[in-house]
Amino acid sequence: MKEFICTVCPRGCHLKVDENTLAVTGNSCARGVEYGRNEAVNPMRTLTSTIAIEGGIHRRLPVRTDRPIPKSKIFECMEIIHQCKEKSPVKAGQVIVENIAGTGANLIATRNM
């Protein structure tokens, strides 16, 4: 049995998900079932961070993955992000790392600098 707090709405139901049958209990609505199953099987997160930049008005450039990545890949992605360095100018949406850590997501800049 895995336990999660549902984040679909502010109520925050405490869900219990059976790992074998994927039966969800503790939910108040149908959306909670879907959320609980996704969290149990393959939790995904959009990763946001910053990388070093030279020549910009600030020393850090904000970045994010352009789609959610598996939660288990977050720290692997952070190791790659720590090695990144860009030179100004950078455009918002510009790809910094393609297919980061084999997740299928690109790391993109989230502002012009």
Partner: protein, 421 residues
């Protein structure tokens, strides 16, 4: 002396939306006064996603949300003065500023929109005991160092306060290689969004100590140790419940205060419930021609609502200017009060004769409840009721009372949670 139709103080999300809205409603001579080197305000350091779900139907990061508004400025004649600090505002709408190119100068405006945002409460107002070494930051200050200036603030971290900024920083510090040992929260519940509890704490196994506060801070040059204790129902620390954490960093996420020094000095009346100006339904303060919106008016949890509120302020400021800056007729204005279970309302006053479709009221409830009814009374008569499945203090609520139901209302309108004591 510069002359403008409208001066907007602050170039964050509130100021941007207000200025754009005033421009789109026919005002040409607008200036935005921003003390930072760029527009966007706090959004620039909020690099996480989740902004714009209501407004744009997608999850943007802070900089992306700000850029959507900044991009729209290009097609306008709005003047932006960056690196410009406003020193004083007077009730006749004269603004004293200072910047590098003009030195000390004044701006005269027909109308002013207050959009200065808020600042963080620090250790003083919460009476935190102990040594005063380095390593103690407000959470937003640490966020700026890490996300914009490129300085890591520490490696072993305790966070006091589980509001959203504290939770976001717990994740941010962890991603950057720090060990977050504990998040302590004096209340028996977190005021942060569930999503942040899950994605910022639970995802990384960071413990949240509810009903706990910091009772000892040790380290005269650099922070060495923080002690937290459990508190009783009166928030008094319970002896014997101390937990020690060896750490070099303590982040404080203990509340936000609207930054109203300029408003107070201009004589704009302030509501002690919100620490923001008293405003009418058109977002105008008690001082003619001075409007307020965003976090300087009341602290919001979602920027989407800041934008909407600020557009209303901009639109009404434009109307005020187009009508020749005549003092607004406030005769017969009703007073809007917070009743049982409600901690404040915005606006605090309304001129019902000019309400078009309905009267929008924002408020916060005092405690969590389910299957509740928001009751609106005019004097002792119930005029409207709104069902809510779930209410929580951390979520700002909004009701719109249809114009039809406001007919014949005078005196006081009270918003309360039905059944709450």
């Amino acid at each position: 002396m510069f002359e403008y139709d409208l001066a907007v103080i602050g170039g964050g999300p509130a100021g941007l939306a207000a200025a754009l809205s005033a421009y789109e409603n026919g005002i040409q001579k607008i200036v935005i006064l921003e003390r930072d080197v760029e527009l966007g305000g706090i959004l620039n350091q909020c690099i996480h996603n989740g902004f714009g779900l209501h407004r744009f139907g997608e999850e943007l990061t802070g900089p992306e949300y700000a850029q959507r508004f900044i991009d729209r400025l290009k097609d306008t004649a709005i003047t932006v003065m960056l690196g410009t600090m406003v020193l004083e505002l007077t009730s006749d709408k004269t603004i004293t500023c200072v910047n590098k190119t003009e030195g000390l100068f004044t701006i005269s405006a027909k109308a002013v929109i207050l959009a200065m945002g808020c600042r963080e409460r620090n250790r003083g107002p919460i009476g935190m005991p102990g040594d005063r070494g380095s390593g103690i930051f407000s959470a937003g200050c640490a966020q700026r160092y890490i996300n914009i200036d490129g300085y890591m603030v520490g490696s072993r971290v305790v966070i006091l306060g589980s509001g959203d900024i504290g939770l976001i920083m717990a994740r941010r510090m962890t991603l950057e290689g720090a060990k977050v040992l504990a998040v302590a929260e004096i209340m028996p519940h977190s005021n942060g969004l569930n999503r942040n509890i899950v994605q910022c704490l639970n995802d990384f196994g960071i413990p949240l100590y509810l009903s706990h506060t910091v009772t000892e801070v040790v380290g005269r040059s650099r922070l060495e140790k923080v002690v937290i204790s459990q508190v009783d129902s009166n928030f008094k620390p319970i002896p014997g419940t101390e937990k020690e954490f060896e750490c070099d960093t303590l982040l404080l996420s203990v509340g936000l205060i609207p930054e109203n020094e300029l408003s107070r000095k201009a004589g704009v009346p302030i509501d002690p419930r919100t620490n923001g100006a008293v405003v009418y339904d058109d977002m105008q303060t008690e001082t003619d021609g001075i409007f307020a919106c965003g976090n300087v008016l009341h602290v919001h949890d979602l920027v989407d609502f800041v934008s909407a509120e600020s557009e209303k302020a901009g639109r009404n400021a434009a109307e005020y200017i187009k009508n020749g800056c005549k003092p607004t007729d406030k005769t017969g204005a009703v007073v809007i009060q917070n009743g049982n279970g409600v901690s404040y309302t915005v606006p605090q006053k309304a001129v019902l004769s000019r309400v078009e479709k309905g009267l929008e009221i924002f408020f916060r409830v005092r405690q969590k409840s389910e299957k509740s009814v928001i009751e609106v009374k005019n004097n002792d008569r119930v005029i409207a009721a709104f069902k809510r499945d779930f209410l929580a203090p951390g979520e700002m609520e909004k009701i719109t009372i249809p114009k039809k139901l406001l007919e014949g209302c005078e005196g006081t309108i009270t918003v309360s949670v039905g059944g709450a004591k």
